[in-house]
Symmetry: C2
Subunit: 325 residues, 2 copies
């Protein structure tokens, strides 16, 4: 079927060992220029590609890093996060495998992940039920958690994907003179319950300090239209869970004949492409994952070298001012 190193050795008239030494540039080994060239040429002509399974088996670890994605609506943020991590890991010889499969049974899920035999698993604390992660860890696969060494796991997850960005929404609205703000969040936030609670108290504290009235309304995407139709008192501004929420809010407000941003300002989160295309264009917040991804790559290497991993930084934010707020 596929061409093996033995095939190359035979064709080049040398032993398998020599082939391996040449192709891997084995340090402290001398190979005559003549046989070296012969091996390289034959390998190229035959289209030899080392068998990843065999190499990984011998080495004790594979070159893949698994990034299991949570069962949330796939969005632009995750896409760019994945792209950033892929790009950061590639030059270090790791292939990021972002996996979207979901199994109800944690054991089955762990089996599925183990089939990939990843060198490490990335856990950016996007998962609610970490049971499957516990199981892969039990299999000896290092799970790289986004938690800082001296933090509880839930603390960092809040920083990376929830808290700072949401507080920034509020700061922006407050700075622009809005005095009654309504924040629309889903019934169940896609973070650890403790992070969620922390977020809510931090937000209220921020509003209180600025003398602003903040009402947090828990609505799922499907309930937004009905929820807004029933508003009797209107806020100055609305901050939403993400851009999808914001767009649903905008269409519902427009349906009530309200002008955006003049009557009510709306700010989203995540910078989805659609936010740029709706009318009025959506003001939102984007995360910059390039630096974060480099830190992830460093951490992967550290963990695999059994060294203590440095803390993952909080990705920097960027406020994208468009027309809705």
């Amino acid at each position: 079927m596929s061409v093996t190193s033995a095939d190359v050795a035979r064709a080049a008239g040398v032993s398998r060992a020599t082939v391996s030494y040449v192709l891997n540039d084995a340090p402290g080994r001398t190979v005559s220029a003549q046989t070296r060239d012969a091996v390289l040429r034959v390998a190229r002509d035959l289209g030899y590609q080392p068998n990843a399974l065999a190499r990984s088996l011998k080495r004790g670890r594979s070159n893949t890093v698994l990034f299991p994605l949570p069962r949330i609506e796939m969005n632009h943020v995750l896409s760019s996060l994945i792209d950033a991590c892929t790009t950061a890991l590639a030059p270090r010889g790791f292939a990021l495998v972002s996996d979207m499969s979901h199994h109800a049974d944690p054991a089955v899920q762990a089996d599925a992940w183990a089939e990939v035999a990843p060198a490490a698993v990335l856990d950016l604390n996007l998962h609610h039920d970490d049971e499957a992660l516990v199981l892969v860890r039990a299999r000896g696969i290092p799970v790289l958690s986004a938690a800082l060494p001296d933090q509880q796991p839930w603390e960092t997850s809040g920083d990376i994907f929830a808290r700072e960005q949401r507080l920034e929404q509020l700061r922006y609205l407050i700075d622009h003179g809005h005095r009654t703000i309504r924040s629309i969040l889903p019934k169940e936030l896609p973070v650890d319950p403790r992070t969620a609670r922390q977020l809510l108290t931090d937000a209220q504290a921020l509003a209180a300090a600025a003398g602003v009235r903040l009402e947090i309304e828990r609505l799922d995407l499907a309930d937004i239209a009905a929820g807004i139709a029933s508003w009797s008192v209107l806020p100055d501004a609305v901050a939403t869970h993400n851009d999808s929420y914001a767009i649903a809010v905008m269409t519902a407000l427009q349906h009530r004949g309200l002008g955006i941003p003049d009557d009510i300002a709306v700010i989203g989160l995540d910078d989805e492409p659609l936010g740029r295309a709706v009318t009025p264009a959506l003001t939102t917040i984007a995360g910059d994952f390039a630096g974060f991804a480099t830190a992830v790559a460093d951490a992967v290497e550290a963990v695999l070298a059994h060294q203590p991993a440095a803390a993952l930084p909080v990705p920097p934010l960027r406020l994208i001012k468009r027309d809705s707020a």
Copy 2:
């Protein structure tokens, strides 16, 4: 590090072979109930999990099926397609790995995919540049293409993800009495150029047969607001590339003071969750991937057994009538 079958053998006081026979229920092999129980108990106590790399190496193929995702906006359709395929493949012992990584260099991309050492690669013709797929195929990894045996690849891809659904949009609008229809498609359709051309002529033929005026406008998502603002003649109805497009169209039309669906009807495609949440709720079309996924799983098994794979069916459509059309 991790516990191997040798560890189990030692602890159970038997040979590795016996352990393997017991755990794999080797057919035509008899093992005394006593040692069988002992092995099973020890394996459980030690938490033995076979090394996926070693097993796959011996067997000549892994248990993973790789599904490389195109660099298009991740949407609900892909999510449900992936879920369906995951569910269909799991009971047959395959783990679907959906990969979102993207490398500019086809060789690097092929390397990344090969690192996973998948048993097969799923190619649902969502990719523009198949060069990386050609490279993995050259490595001896079977690439399962959505094309039917007697078809050009582009023909099926059109059926599965583009043509039928788009024609259905038109049929619905025509059946509901609309006489001037505008179809908004991106400048570059995420399918093979030939599929794209075929789609356009099919759509025009359908409209002509019904005596309906169909104008196809090529706009990217970001250009929709400006495009619609410049319309001088208004159509009865608008059919769009997908739900994101439809929502952008709706907000632009509402901005012009037009009522939906009374002044203009809008129909989307893909049944994104946001479509349910906007006002008015978006009429759209959804694909049902359950049957399709089973066919994919069958095809994977057939290909790996070196049998001719049956044709992949066209996923059935479901029109979801809400308020916008």
